[in-house]
């Protein structure tokens, strides 16, 4: 492919999916500037490896590059701040220790109708461990299928499902705790 065709092909891809790339990067970095840096770097990589893109699933392809770029960036920029590798088993154990939330029933509706529902939801998402936060963002905000999430996050389909289930459970717990705390 000559350089002109490459630039055109890249423009097409990048213009269409820039917001998705930025949103995903922002939820990973949780910072405006860092999200911009990660997206810019990811776009340069995407341009470089454009020949490996076969025309289908451009958004998933770009998001996978954003994710790789993010992890490279994490290693380079905040090695000291790297969170302890997250252990799903521990998380599951914690989840079981908490009160059985299903018994709280429909109170989630009340939480979501509160005036500060927006803040509560975003803070609950913010507090999710990264692995869980990213599957929720890919699923609910980027509307990615399980298969696409598996490709982006480089995990098996079964893990996509278990992470989503776990992430939602953690979100529910967080929101319901917030609800209980807000009660007089």
């Amino acid at each position: 492919m000559d350089e002109r065709a490459r630039v055109r092909r890249f423009e097409e891809l990048f213009v269409t999916h820039l917001d998705a790339a930025y949103d995903y990067a922002h939820w990973l970095t949780r910072d405006d500037r860092n999200a911009e840096d990660v997206v810019q770097e990811a776009c340069l990589r995407a341009f470089k490896f454009l020949d490996s893109f076969h025309g289908e699933g451009g958004r998933a392809w770009l998001l996978a590059i954003v994710r790789n770029t993010y992890y490279t960036w994490v290693k380079k920029n905040r090695a000291e701040a790297l969170s302890v590798s997250f252990d799903e088993e521990t998380m599951m154990a914690n989840g079981c220790e908490l009160a059985d939330l299903e018994s709280v029933g429909s109170s989630i509706d009340q939480v979501l109708q509160q005036q500060d529902a927006r803040r509560l939801v975003n803070s609950a998402l913010d507090q999710l461990p990264e692995e869980f936060r990213e599957v929720i963002v890919l699923r609910e905000l980027e509307d990615m299928s399980y298969k696409e999430i598996a490709v982006i996050a480089k995990i098996p389909l079964g893990t996509v499902m278990s992470r989503l289930a776990r992430a939602r459970k953690l979100l529910l717990q967080h929101l319901q705790r917030a609800q209980q705390e807000s009660r007089p």
């Binding site: 999916h17 820039l18 341009f47």
Partner: protein
């Protein structure tokens, strides 16, 4: 199906990842099991709560320019080492201006019978995609920004030689964001702007060039955009966004149903 089975598929059900027989089996179970119904309802509430309230961070305009700059530097560097570098700079500049137009270059779509030539519909689809992309790239989404249909409609009517049907669809989940003038099919047209979650839908409306024909809804999916086109009551309608095909259908049905 028992409760264990149904709950093990709760998330796949919620995420529309199940085949139809499984969906029906779960529906049947939910109809008769209050406990599962409650669990499913809670997850539905959570999912829609997250979709409604979670921040969607859109890329700042300066980032687009930054990235183009970085890419063009890469291209220039490459060209400095190559034998014939002269074309690359001016060409890239042109792409900067015409990015959205370039994005449509590969559109191919044939509506054989309804148009004089296949290329006519194809060409229009390209124009529609380009207009939509341009409107979402720039800050110029709406000339008149309000969800009040009684403001948008008269404004558009005063600028155009026809009066487009304008309806706020907030009730169906597609709030009216505003209206804009655009230029398609060699004439000024109405662009109605709707929102759905963080997505933008442009609905282009103008009087059909040939009177008396109608066209059932056609769909096209290209470059991450879904386009719906239909002709009714002497008006041509083109709806486009990056929503998925199901949501676009829902939008079109809400719009055509509301009139």
């Amino acid at each position: 199906m028992n409760c264990t089975d149904s709950r093990s598929r709760l998330h796949a059900y919620l995420d529309q990842e199940l085949d139809l027989p499984s969906v029906l089996a779960i529906d049947e179970h939910l109809a008769s099991c209050d406990a599962c119904k409650k669990t499913f309802a809670q997850q539905f509430a959570l999912q829609s709560g997250v979709r409604k309230h979670a921040m969607y961070y859109t890329a700042p305009g300066t980032l687009t320019e930054r990235i183009r700059g970085a890419i063009s530097r890469t291209v220039t560097e490459t060209s400095a080492n190559s034998v014939k570098p002269h074309w690359q700079w001016p060409l890239f500049q042109r792409f900067q201006l015409g990015a959205a137009v370039a994005a449509t270059a590969l559109v191919s779509w044939i509506v054989a019978i309804q148009y004089n030539t296949p290329s006519e519909a194809e060409f229009l689809a390209e124009q529609v995609i380009a207009s939509h992309a341009r409107s979402t790239l720039t800050t110029h989404l709406a000339d008149v920004s309000t969800s009040d249909e009684h403001t948008v409609k008269p404004w558009l009517s005063s600028k155009l030689d026809f009066s487009p049907p304008v309806t706020d669809l907030t009730g169906a989940g597609f709030p009216l964001v505003g209206g804009r003038l655009d230029y398609l099919d060699n004439r000024p047209v109405a662009a109605l702007v709707y929102g759905h979650r963080q997505h933008v839908i442009n609905l282009f409306v103008w009087p059909d060039r040939r009177s008396g024909r109608s066209l059932p809804m056609e769909s096209l999916s290209k470059h991450g955009y879904n386009v719906l086109h239909w002709i009714n009551g002497g008006m041509a309608f083109w709806a486009i966004s990056d929503l998925n095909a199901t949501e676009m259908r829902a939008f079109a049905e809400a719009y055509t149903g509301a009139k």
